[in-house]
């Protein structure tokens, strides 16, 4: 058990209206807008990210609807191009990159460390407002004359098109700083604010994942910042950097872009690994299998992720030698990734598995992430990538990883920590049904796209050959199912905040520190740093389920 001084909180007395927690501690708009509390900043981040997700998702549904027929269905060429650009930019820069670290991580990280807050609370608030500013720039581009470059901003198209590329690029630039601030904050927090007794190998796996992610955020993001700035300078001042007409080199842009954007793929998915690593042992009532391998494989992925950017450029005229080195290192990433999946599966062996909503999302994650990972191997094989590059196969692959990996993990995390963050339980039946619908929708949407791609359907196509229509229609149907699943989940979660029942301190029987304090947590989290005497997934036997409070308590209590 953590500390005698927190035992009183573990029992979670029924919450009275005047009980003091971070949600009730202060009132009024400014108490939120100027808050330095990591939990409130996390809630603001998560709300904003989910709003952006709704916007990006709406774009996706319009795009999929357009693709119901080979010619024009509802929108014209240019609108389609602008919409897939914004769909990508919003989902990448506004949703997936900040989603788990800045949203869930902000709420959970200090709690898991038994800390009162992150190391730099003001920097944390600044990061949130940079996100808002970045979002405003993105929306400015949307309102002015939305960029039509694709989220990759490839030159020289991006430096010559007449759409509002500069505001969108500026938005991504600002969002980069937001991401750096969060990363920096987390690195320092994890180094300096661990409680007594919590060595590196007693960190929850979510903390390990956030640590690996933060390293990438801090080291890689400056490169995209400077690249986008150069792009803006070229557009506005006609200084030749990337456009050959001005003496620049368009392939240089691709190198710069992917030097960030490939590691960024791991900014997006590694935090998801952390969520899954936290959930599977709790819902299997069993210690995680191969803790050290899982923890260190996150670092290995973060490191190797820096050395593979050239695999996006096998058909961009890159030399044979460079291509083969990038290909070889890309294969290496498959190993730590596979290790994680094996260890998660093995954790369930001889456990006692509870299929609550977070676990269902975690199992869905294992399924779709396995498919996303395996199809990544196809693209690492150079000769096969020549055919698959820039087709729907790639679209399907990264949606399985981003949507199926990062977003599914984010939903798992949201459902797992929801009682802790809001103090309310959601309707479990609706939660499970939502998980099922999202899982089915995801596979129906994206699996047909693998076949479309290997049959030769290029990506970013407004019109297409009639023979591709049946698979496109199936994919669009899946997207509607997916949209329905998200809508249902959103309604259920919003309703839960307004209704009883109150959540107990520890509804799932978890062992990490955030569950030793009341739900929602007190304003100062922990009165004193709780001394830690065991690992984050140890001794589930010492918790017993108390039917009266629908949560777990210490056996002795």
């Amino acid at each position: 058990m953590a500390s005698p001084s927190t035992t009183a909180d573990v029992v979670a007395p029924p919450r009275s209206p005047d009980s003091d927690n971070y949600l009730t501690h202060e009132k009024g708009f400014l108490s939120w807008a100027l808050t330095l509390d990591h939990k409130r900043i996390g809630i603001m981040y998560l709300t904003s990210v989910l709003a952006a997700f709704a916007l990006g998702g709406t774009f996706a549904l319009i795009l999929r609807t357009e693709l119901l027929t080979p010619g024009k269905t509802i929108i014209d060429h240019d609108t389609y191009n602008q919409m897939f650009t914004l769909h990508g930019a919003v989902m990448v820069f506004l949703v997936i990159i900040p989603g788990i670290p800045a949203g869930l991580g902000n709420i959970v990280l200090p709690l898991q460390l038994g800390a009162k807050d992150v190391a730099f609370p003001k920097l944390n608030l600044a990061s949130y407002y940079l996100w808002v500013l970045g979002a405003i720039f993105m929306i400015t581009s949307l309102v002015m004359n939305a960029a039509d470059t694709g989220w990759t901003f490839y030159a020289p198209y991006s430096t010559t098109t007449q759409t509002a590329v500069a505001p969108a690029a500026m938005g991504a630039f600002i969002l980069g700083f937001s991401s750096i601030f969060t990363g920096l904050n987390f690195i320092v927090t994890i180094h300096k604010l661990r409680p007594p007794g919590m060595g590196w190998f007693r960190l929850p796996l979510f903390v390990w994942a956030l640590y690996s992610t933060a390293l990438i955020q801090v080291l890689a993001t400056p490169v995209i910042g400077i690249t986008l700035l150069m792009l803006i300078v070229e557009r506005l001042l006609h200084i030749g950097i990337f456009d050959p007409a001005l003496g620049g080199d368009p392939v240089l842009f691709q190198h710069f872009f992917w030097f960030y954007s490939h590691p960024a793929v791991y900014i997006m998915v590694v935090p998801g690994f952390g969520v899954i690593g936290d959930i599977i042992p709790v819902f299997s009532r069993k210690r995680i299998f191969g803790y050290k391998f899982i923890a260190v494989s996150s670092l290995a992925i973060a490191f190797l992720g820096f050395l593979v950017w050239g695999h996006h450029m096998f058909v961009a005229g890159q030399s044979l030698l460079a291509g083969s080195i990038f290909s070889a290192i890309t294969f290496l990433i498959a190993i730590p990734t596979a290790i994680k999946v094996f260890n998660w599966i093995t954790t369930m062996y001889k456990g006692r598995i509870h299929l609550d909503t977070p676990m269902l999302y975690a199992l869905a994650f294992l399924w779709v992430f396995t498919i996303g990972g395996l199809t990544g191997v196809f693209l690492a094989v150079m000769s096969v990538d020549v055919h698959l590059h820039d087709t729907y196969f790639v679209v399907a692959h990264f949606h399985y990883v981003m949507m199926g990996g990062a977003i599914t993990a984010m939903l798992a995390g949201i459902h797992y920590w929801w009682p802790k963050a809001t103090g309310r339980m959601y309707n479990e039946k609706v939660g499970r049904l939502g998980a099922l619908i999202v899982f089915v929708g995801l596979n129906v949407t994206f699996f047909p796209q693998f076949i479309l791609g290997s049959r030769g359907m290029p990506r970013r196509y407004y019109n297409y050959l009639p023979e591709f229509q049946p698979l496109h229609q199936l994919s669009t149907f899946g997207a509607y199912v997916l949209g329905l699943g998200f809508l249902m989940t959103a309604v259920s979660l919003i309703r839960s905040v307004m209704k009883k029942p109150d959540a107990p301190a520890n509804p799932w029987g978890s062992r990490t520190l955030e569950w030793t304090i009341s739900s929602p947590p007190p304003y100062y989290n922990f009165k004193t740093p709780p001394p830690v005497t065991r690992g984050p997934y140890d001794d589930y036997e010492t918790l017993v389920y108390d039917e009266k409070i629908h949560g777990y308590v210490e056996k002795s209590a």
Partner: protein, 330 residues
């Protein structure tokens, strides 16, 4: 909305895939395609086996070790929490598979990147939104090649990035302005196959389609001779009409008065055009010639400055052909 909407290109000219024997890939029609397909199918089956193992374990564990209820307070059975032998085994086996895949992929890539000596060469140009292929008699909007002969395509772009993608031959290469790239293939059967642009290039990216015409033995030379004769013999307006479709003019200029990316040619001759610099002029032979050779010199109001130059691409007779063709469009 920035540029006027481009209409669908004529439906009758859409390329079409020949019937394929498998659901996974289009028909393989080049000497290197078989290797790519073999490796692809190897990975499809390998992935299916791997994924089936993972999913079976997952489903089996969930079924076997499912807890009855929270209230029952069941505990996990004792089992080890760590096993170095197991960890090493499941690291080494995937690693070995990956090494094999890398080697096969590398070998395949080397042969895709190494055209045989003496391969026939054809220049390909990507421009918004048309592929042009160079032949001794001029350019064509379809790629014509003989069957069973290696062909190297030298690719470049005059504006933004494009990518020449021939799905039936399993080859693709980006077209980059200011740089030359290449790809090669050797068709194994005669026929008509699609070409796509695979690198996003703006408004009509998805209409940047073309045909590969693979001629049966002996037919290719006949076709070349026929084209050469056509270019020299036919009357000027007809030559202009031919060039209108083959040079990519039709992508942006209509001949029926409808507004595309550029001004329509219908009734253009003699019409007074107003330019973005405030001047205006009546369209005559010299204006048309200047618009083709130095298209950025005068931009007609309300149109984007997106036309590439044709300097060096058209002979004097071909220029005259286009001028006469425009004149004929009353």
């Amino acid at each position: 909305m920035i540029t006027p909407v481009l209409l669908l290109q004529p439906a009758q000219n859409l390329p079409k895939f020949p019937e394929s024997p498998t659901v996974w890939m289009p028909l393989d029609a080049s000497v290197t395609a078989h290797d790519v397909d073999w490796l692809y199918m190897f990975m499809v089956y390998g992935s299916l086996i791997f994924a089936a193992g993972i999913f079976a374990a997952m489903v089996y564990f969930v079924k076997t070790y499912r807890a009855k209820s929270r209230v029952a307070n069941e505990h996990a059975e004792p089992s080890s929490e760590h096993n170095t032998t197991l960890e090493i085994t499941w690291s080494i086996i995937p690693l070995l598979v990956c090494v094999a895949l890398f080697v096969w992929g590398f070998q395949g890539f080397v042969s895709l990147r190494t055209p045989p000596k003496g391969a026939m060469e054809i220049q390909a140009t990507g421009q918004k939104w048309k592929w042009l292929f160079d032949y001794p008699h001029g350019t064509e909007d379809a790629l014509h090649v003989p069957v069973n002969r290696p062909v190297r395509i030298v690719i470049h772009s005059v504006d933004v990035l494009h990518s020449l993608f021939l799905p039936n031959f399993r080859v693709k290469m980006d077209a980059i302005p200011g740089r030359y790239t290449d790809l090669w293939f050797q068709a194994t059967q005669a026929g008509d196959f699609p070409i796509f642009c695979a690198e996003y290039c703006g408004t009509s990216h998805s209409d940047m389609l073309a045909h590969v015409i693979v001629h049966p033995p002996g037919e290719y030379e006949k076709w070349l001779a026929e084209q050469k004769r056509k270019m020299e013999d036919i009357p000027l307006p007809e030559l202009g009409k031919l060039l209108y479709s083959k040079q990519g003019c039709s992508t942006c200029h209509s001949v029926d008065g409808s507004k595309l990316i550029g001004p329509s040619w219908k009734g253009a001759f003699g019409r007074t055009e107003h330019f973005t610099d405030g001047t205006s002029t009546a369209v005559d032979e010299n204006y048309i010639r200047q618009s083709i050779m130095d298209p950025q010199a005068k931009i007609v109001e309300s149109f984007p400055p997106s036309m590439p130059t044709y300097q060096g691409k058209l002979s004097d007779r071909q220029l005259l052909g286009i001028i006469e063709y425009i004149k004929s469009l009353k």
